[in-house]
């Protein structure tokens, strides 16, 4: 019995380590590569090591245009604008999705009847994105929204709205009505109940839903590829362009950019970790 549980524990930790290795090794490899000079990351180097032998910030300097490093390429644009574009479109897209999604979820959770609308919203996601993107390109071109961060933010908001809606609806459904009734019975108006009681109590739910939606928007490639051309390309689109005819893929530069791209979600995750861990303790209920 004892032996069995020990061998089970060994197996368990081995499985965990394997899973960690599969996810972490490539990530750490990227982080290490970001600080390697070209000789160490290119195939020509043929001398791959875990730690950079000559750590350098050249890759970062390169993508921000202050150095051409040892590459005999000059970029036609720097990473600054794509980072700004990604930030603006993802943040405002998240705002659009969260505000519309939260309002719709609250309305349907408290006053809605039937399941048709919620299901219809999720069905939007069953559509292959490619099938809708061309019509969207035409519409965006008509509206003059192509190649702008606000055009991207709008489509991001629309595309992630079902997620925001469904996440928030689940949270609203779980929140006991008695808490709102308790405020209503004191003479509080519906609007005030929503603003002063419901939303504040929903803070953890809002934070985790917003993070989820933000990550979806932040990592989009397809939509940005089709809807931006030059001015407002986002990080993923820009990253794809980091190659040269002479050296092929610029892995070092891509790694540096990838590292930068990982920062916002990680920072947000840490910032709301308290909420994510604490979860939802509505009204300290029995049940």
């Amino acid at each position: 019995m004892m032996n069995r549980s020990v061998s089970f524990e060994i197996f368990r930790y081995a499985a965990i380590l394997l899973a960690l290795a599969i996810t972490l090794v490539p990530t750490l490899w990227m982080a290490s590569m970001a600080f390697k000079p070209i000789a160490e990351w290119s195939a020509a180097g043929a001398d791959l090591t875990w730690w950079p032998k000559n750590p350098t910030l050249d890759n970062f300097r390169f993508i921000f245009g202050t150095s051409t490093s040892d590459l005999i390429v000059a970029l036609d644009r720097t990473a600054g604008k794509p980072i700004l574009s990604s930030l603006l479109s993802a943040v405002f897209g998240t705002l659009v999705a969260m505000s519309c999604g939260t309002a719709a979820a609250y309305g349907l959770s408290r006053f809605g009847s039937g399941q048709n609308l919620p299901l219809a919203l999720i069905q939007l996601r069953l559509f292959p994105p490619m099938a809708v993107m061309i019509p969207v390109m035409i519409m965006w071109a008509f509206l003059g929204l192509v190649d702008s961060w606000w055009g991207l933010a709008l489509i991001y908001g629309i595309v992630t709205l079902p997620f925001a809606f469904w996440l928030m609806k689940t949270f609203f459904d779980d929140m006991p009505r008695e808490i709102e009734d308790a405020a209503l019975v004191e003479g509080c108006s519906r609007t005030r109940v929503f603003m002063k009681i419901t939303l504040p109590m929903m803070r953890p739910a809002l934070a985790s839903s917003a993070l989820f939606v933000f990550i979806l928007n932040w990592s989009d490639y397809l939509i940005a590829l089709l809807l931006t051309t030059r001015e407002w390309v986002t990080i993923p689109v820009y990253m794809a362009s980091l190659s040269s005819s002479m050296t092929g893929q610029l892995y070092g530069a891509k790694a540096a950019l990838g590292l930068i791209a990982a920062v916002p979600p990680v920072v947000m995750g840490i910032a709301i970790q308290r909420h994510l861990v604490r979860g939802l303790t509505f009204g300290a209920l029995k049940q």
Binding site: P176, A182, V185, E186, S189, M201, T281, G283, A284, K286
Partner: protein, 364 residues
């Protein structure tokens, strides 16, 4: 300090009728308990009084004023929810102050009243604590305090003690009664716990399956249940109810209980009522506390199935087949399982019910 009048109140949820034509007068300053098993319609009734649900039919009057269409915030009721519904994003102080702030009272007055009610409910040391991590007992007091602080004319409590531990429940029963005496509100208290209803209420409204069964003082519903449901529901254990039929004997009218034999003659007034009743099939009822074991061997012989000794009391399980009897004694009794004892029932405690309708047969 408001009388509540429920007039032909009906509540349907789709095809389901939660409440069937209820009429109830709750007097000004009265402590009324709505008592019944879960699903009996008591919470629905309460929610309609508060204005959270609107009646399908009928009217709710506060001091003669029709409340139909009056928003719940304007009815002047306080409501304590079963799950407390504490605002967990606020601390204890802000929870208590909530109702007063909604009403726009100046902060100085809010502060004074919060401190007063906190003192009364022994919450003073906890005022600055976040309310998310309080114990159930504290939450319960906080919920009462949050509603009581605005001194509502009508105080509605929905099973407020069902989640707290037994010892604290006993304390709160006393405190709630004390609270009501102090503020003299009209109090409506929903519970499935008859002990709470019996100890606190001025009157009890017993409900079952959406039908109001009986309204009366605790002793009235205990002593003179109007039907079989109330007889079986009130009391712990409930009234013994044995099926039988009326039979004449040379000593007067008795009830033939089949396997258990015949009862002692019914008291004259009850016998007269029974004779004028249409049916001959009756249910013979008596309280387990009104049974004694006869030393002389006189009385009905009953087999003992087992004896429960629970310290202060002894419960004897007697009878055979469907005719089961529980007898409660203050002290230990000299009866053993599998023996047969002679059972004497206090004649004045006997109640008869019509077997067909379940309605009590009462002296005219």
């Amino acid at each position: 300090m408001t009388a509540i009048h429920l007039e032909n109140l009906v509540k349907r949820f789709g095809a389901f009728t939660a409440l069937k034509t209820m009429d109830l007068e709750i007097r000004d300053g009265e402590f009324m308990a709505l008592l019944g098993p879960s699903g009996c319609g008591k919470s629905t009734t309460m929610n309609m009084i508060a204005g959270m649900e609107s009646p399908s039919k009928g009217r709710i009057l506060f001091d003669g004023r029709d409340m139909n269409g009056v928003a719940m915030g304007r009815r002047g009721v306080g409501f304590v929810f079963q799950n407390y519904a504490i605002f967990t994003h606020m601390n204890v102080y802000d929870n208590l102050a909530y109702g007063l702030r909604v009403r726009g009272l100046p902060e100085r007055e809010v502060d004074g009243r919060v401190r007063k009610i906190a003192d009364f409910l022994q919450l003073t040391p906890l005022l600055k604590q976040p309310s998310a991590k309080l114990s159930v007992n504290i939450l319960q007091r906080l919920a009462i305090g949050r509603s009581a602080i605005v001194e509502p004319a009508i105080f509605l409590l929905d099973e407020p003690l069902s989640n707290v531990d037994a010892a604290f429940r006993a304390v709160m029963r006393t405190e709630l009664k004390h609270l009501q005496r102090q503020f003299r509100q009209t109090m409506v208290y929903v519970t499935h716990d008859q002990l709470e209803a019996m100890t606190m209420a001025d009157r009890i409204a017993v409900m079952d399956h959406g039908v109001l069964q009986q309204v009366g003082t605790p002793l009235e519903v205990y002593n003179d249940p109007v039907n079989l449901f109330v007889a079986g529901f009130i009391g712990s254990p409930g009234m013994n109810l044995l099926k039988g039929s009326l039979a004449d004997s040379d000593r007067g009218l008795v009830v033939d209980l089949g396997e258990l034999g015949r009862t002692a003659p019914l008291p004259p007034q009850l016998a007269a009522a029974a004779r004028s009743n249409a049916g001959r099939d009756v249910v013979y009822g008596f309280r387990p506390e009104r049974v004694s074991l006869s030393e002389t061997g006189e009385g009905m012989p009953m087999p003992v199935t087992f004896i429960e000794r629970i310290g202060a009391r002894t419960i004897a399980h007697l009878g055979t087949g469907e005719q089961r009897v529980k007898a409660v004694f203050d002290n230990d009794v000299a009866a053993e399982s599998a023996s047969t004892v002679a059972v004497a029932i206090e004649p004045a405690s006997v109640r008869l019910f019509d077997a067909a309708t379940g309605v009590a047969i009462r002296e005219a």
